[in-house]
Symmetry: C2
Subunit: 385 residues, 2 copies
Amino acid sequence: MIYLDNAASTPVHQEVIDEMIPYFKEQYGNPSSIHKFGRAASVAIQNARKRIADLLSADSKEIFLTSGGTESNNTAVYGIALQKKGKHIITSSIEHDAILEPCKYLERQGYRISYLPVDKHGLVNVEDVKKEISRDTCLVTIMFANNEVGTIQSIREIAEAAHKNNVVFHTDAVQAIGKVPINVKELDIDLLSISSHKINGPKGVGALYVRKGTVVSPLILGGGQENGLRSGTENVASIVGFGMACKIAKENMNQNTIHFKNLTSKLITRVLSEIPKTSLNGHPEKRIPSNTHFTFLGVNGEDLIIKLDENKIAASTGSACSVRIQKASHVLKAMGFSHEQITGSLRLTVGITNTDKEMDETVDVLRKVVQELRAVSPYKEKYSF
Amino acid sequence: MIYLDNAASTPVHQEVIDEMIPYFKEQYGNPSSIHKFGRAASVAIQNARKRIADLLSADSKEIFLTSGGTESNNTAVYGIALQKKGKHIITSSIEHDAILEPCKYLERQGYRISYLPVDKHGLVNVEDVKKEISRDTCLVTIMFANNEVGTIQSIREIAEAAHKNNVVFHTDAVQAIGKVPINVKELDIDLLSISSHKINGPKGVGALYVRKGTVVSPLILGGGQENGLRSGTENVASIVGFGMACKIAKENMNQNTIHFKNLTSKLITRVLSEIPKTSLNGHPEKRIPSNTHFTFLGVNGEDLIIKLDENKIAASTGSACSVRIQKASHVLKAMGFSHEQITGSLRLTVGITNTDKEMDETVDVLRKVVQELRAVSPYKEKYSF
């Protein structure tokens, strides 16, 4: 199989697994216990926290461990809302559901939410952020890079606009982390969500960066772990694995970027030149290097996925998380795509294990299956396939 | 080291680790993806869900996966409160903080919470539940077995009292699961929380059993996983491990119970007969077989833990989760213990890896260190040690 769904999840590094194993069988203590087993677990978490912080150029004390990107995003939105410093939140119309759904919940509780539009490339206009900020705004949350089309937002400018008005700025960096350098200090970010399993770490663990001085209310209450922000016995093995994944991501950032760019450049160039009536979606330059997202006119994306799967290629129409509800992509809708354009879309996201040869094989298969599907397409006449 | 803190956390079975590994490196798909990798992950989760359900005599569809016992408890409390069918909750004064803290939060939001008293053995009086139920009661939540002293509550009777008044009944079974048989149908339970790492599974995963027909609002929103009750990419490897841990727990329940009883009987008999001015806390019969909890008068429990640790024995004063705040046990307080009795307490909880020989070694060490500590105790004169 050729795995081209790295935006949905990634294989775990062997080094990460090796780091995790001892925390299952030998160092299985509860980090809150004061005996030797507990202390070993506690030290392991602190080391991992340092590695996670390093990837973001943050301080260890600013890293709060969670069960993943979704919980981090929920904690950010609710955690600021619960501070009761205003009842208005600014976000974008192309956020992940882990931001949009908490916002909709708050909307039902009487909050006002501004869902900013995006241009045809999926880019938020910083002027729109500035215009929307009011005295009642408590949070601006705009994703770092989009999970479907890979577009990278003007994070520093948006943060600046928020801070000029003393508003907290959060960014969902689940898709960006490990793909582009992120320095929370330079970018002036208050809150940032990341997830382990998107960077070759285990699933079920993530983090919320909380800038020193920013106060966030907890979502999950209990024993008071994570300095009170996130209760529950720490997921030691996974946290250790996440730490190792961050260390590797930092060390390999440059070479990975080159690798990803080489792969996606080939994919994009060959697909656009060899398959007619096809377009690349998202921003032409401001995009994460591992993402490609195409529209093949006259083709049903889901049929395409199934055909590719039969040909041993794992791909996606967009966000894995919205598959179960079979709704049309809200991201592409916000970008002004027609129903037909949305239906014909395909996301191919590369990762560390992919090879140049796989890209060639993928384009060869794609060309063939797109042709097959277009031969029976209801749009056959329209486009004279 | 002799590990006697199995109520805090347990070593992961080798069979569990073996089941998990493939889901890190090979079957790393996102269960929401429709390609082969995604489908394999989805099937793995369904199989695990079945195994978890089997341990509780529940249906697979009634098992909702979470990040652990704390999240399960929070989801139960908030999830019922958010249904807005009443603003009164009945709980006990000896619950884990993962129940008490969400209750206190709701109290600050205007809910009325009844914290039922317990007797000197830590037992809730079912009559108290009946008396407290009002037309405004939306939830009764009483733990199955206490995490400090191991006392098992009259769960079926409490459930019955709740249901007679059409009130939802939840129980935190984190400490009971795998130690005593739990049949949610026979016990007439609506909601039940369990955690993987207390039964030799990995940390960072748990479940909330939700009886068919009971409606619970979600705590974490996003992609709509777990039938909308718990969003976030499923923690596939850990869920698979949890499933295997449940399977083993079910298969070995009888032999484990005998093993635990043999170990704790020896501990209790020898400690009480060989160390003067010592008592066993919790209910003499209604207790989980793996728990022992003692008070050694005139001894500081924390000093005792440190001494034991130096002698290669891992023990605990009570709940691992409350160590960081150094507060006196609310459980022992509710049981009517004096400050001195609380201070002198020690919890020794056995697990599958402990041996009879370890119990003898532990008592030998305990006798010695208790004597040492009493020799310098401020209570030396009082008790004529």
